[in-house]
C-alpha cells in the first residue's frame, strides 16, 4: 500500500533539524541548548563548518537528494555562512520538499 507523503511544515522541519543538531552537539560535547528559528549556528551553538558537513549528511539521509546543503551554502559569502541561523535552513528544506 502506498501512502502519499505530505510535505512537512516548517515546525516539523525545525523539530527534525533540532534533533539532528542535538546529536551533532552531543558528539562535540556541548550542553543542551534550545534550538529555535533564531538560533545562530556559530554563535549560539559554536558549530564549526565541519559540523555543517555532518548535518548536511544527516539532512540528506533523512529527506533525500532534494535537500542539498552544499548547494544551499554554495551561493553564500563567508560572512553569511557565519551568521547563518537555523531558520534559514528550515525555510530552505521546507521549500525543497514542498
Amino acid at each position: 500500500m502506498t501512502t502519499t507523503q505530505q510535505a512537512p511544515t516548517e515546525q516539523e522541519v525545525l523539530t527534525a533539524i533540532a534533533g539532528m543538531l542535538t546529536e551533532v552537539l552531543d558528539e562535540i560535547g556541548l550542553d543542551d541548548v534550545e534550538i529555535t528559528m533564531e538560533t545562530s549556528f556559530t554563535e549560539d551553538l559554536e558549530i564549526e563548518s565541519i559540523d555543517l558537513v555532518t548535518l548536511a549528511g544527516a539532512l540528506r539521509a533523512h529527506w533525500g537528494d532534494r535537500v542539498n546543503v552544499a548547494d544551499f551554502i554554495a551561493g553564500m559569502e563567508l560572512d553569511e555562512i557565519i551568521e547563518l541561523r537555523v531558520g534559514s535552513l528550515v525555510r530552505y528544506v521546507t521549500a525543497q520538499l514542498a
Binding site: 556559530t42 554563535e43 559554536e46 564549526e48 563548518s49 565541519i50 555543517l52 558537513v53 555532518t54 548536511a56 549528511g57 542539498n68 552544499a70 548547494d71 551554502i73 554554495a74 563567508l78 555562512i81 557565519i82
Partner: protein
Amino acid sequence: MSFLEANGVRCHVQRLGPPEGTPVRGTVLLIHGMLTDSLASYYFTLGPTLAAAGHDVIMYDLRGHGRSARPASGYQLEHFLDDAEALLDGLGVDGPVHLLGNSFGATLAFGLALRRPAQVASLVCLESMPATATWVTQIDDVLQRSLAGLPNEEAITLIEASHGAHTARMARRAARMLSTTSLATELPQTEPLSAEDLRGVRCPVLAVYGSESAMVEQLDWLEQALPDCRSVVLQGQEHSVLIEATETLRLLALDWLDELEAVPVA
C-alpha cells in the same frame, strides 16, 4: 558521517559524484590546509562544483583535523603522505587522480605526486610550495611562533574583543591542536626535497597565488624548478584565496580539468 580506517587512523571522508546518469570524467582529490582547516572548506566551495561538472570528488580531513582522529604524534609529512596513499587504496582508487591542495594541502600533494608519479595526473597548488628546505624553515617558524604565542583564555577574550568571535574560535581551535599534538615539533623534522627531487614532479602543475600574499614570491622559482608548471596570480588576494576568490577558483579548476581531460575530436 563516513569514516575509513587509513594507515591506522580513522579518516573522515566525503565523496561527491556527478548527477545520476552522467559519466564520471575523472577523480579529484581535494586536500585542505593546516591547523584550523577541514574538508568543509571544499565541501562548501569547489567540491560540489567539480562533482556537478562530472568529476568523482574525494575530500578528507587530514589527521588531527576536522572529524578525523587526532593522534598525539605522527605529524611529519611522511605520515600525512602514508595516510593519503592508504586513503586512495582504501577507497579503491587505482586509476589516475587529479590533486588540488590548499596551502599545506598542496605541499602534501607535491609529496603524493612524487610517491605516485604514475597515478597523479595533475596538481593544482593554491598558495603553497613543495616541502623544500625553504618550506621546512618557514613552517618551523610559523609553528614555533604559534606555539610560543599559544593564547590562554584571557588572550582569547582579547582576540574576541578586537577581531570578533569567529577569529577567537579559530585561535582556540589552533591552540588546542598545538597543545595536544606534536605537530609543531614533528612537521619541521620533515626531510626536505632537493632540486633533483622536484624534477620528479612530472605531472602538469597549476600554481595559484594571491598578489598580496607572502607566498607569491615562490612563483618564479617554482615555475623553473618543476618540469611542467604554469601559474596564475589573483590580483588583490592574500593567502585565503579558496574562501575569498571562490568563484574565480571554481572557473580556474573547471577550465584546468577540462583542458587536461579534453578528448581529441575523432
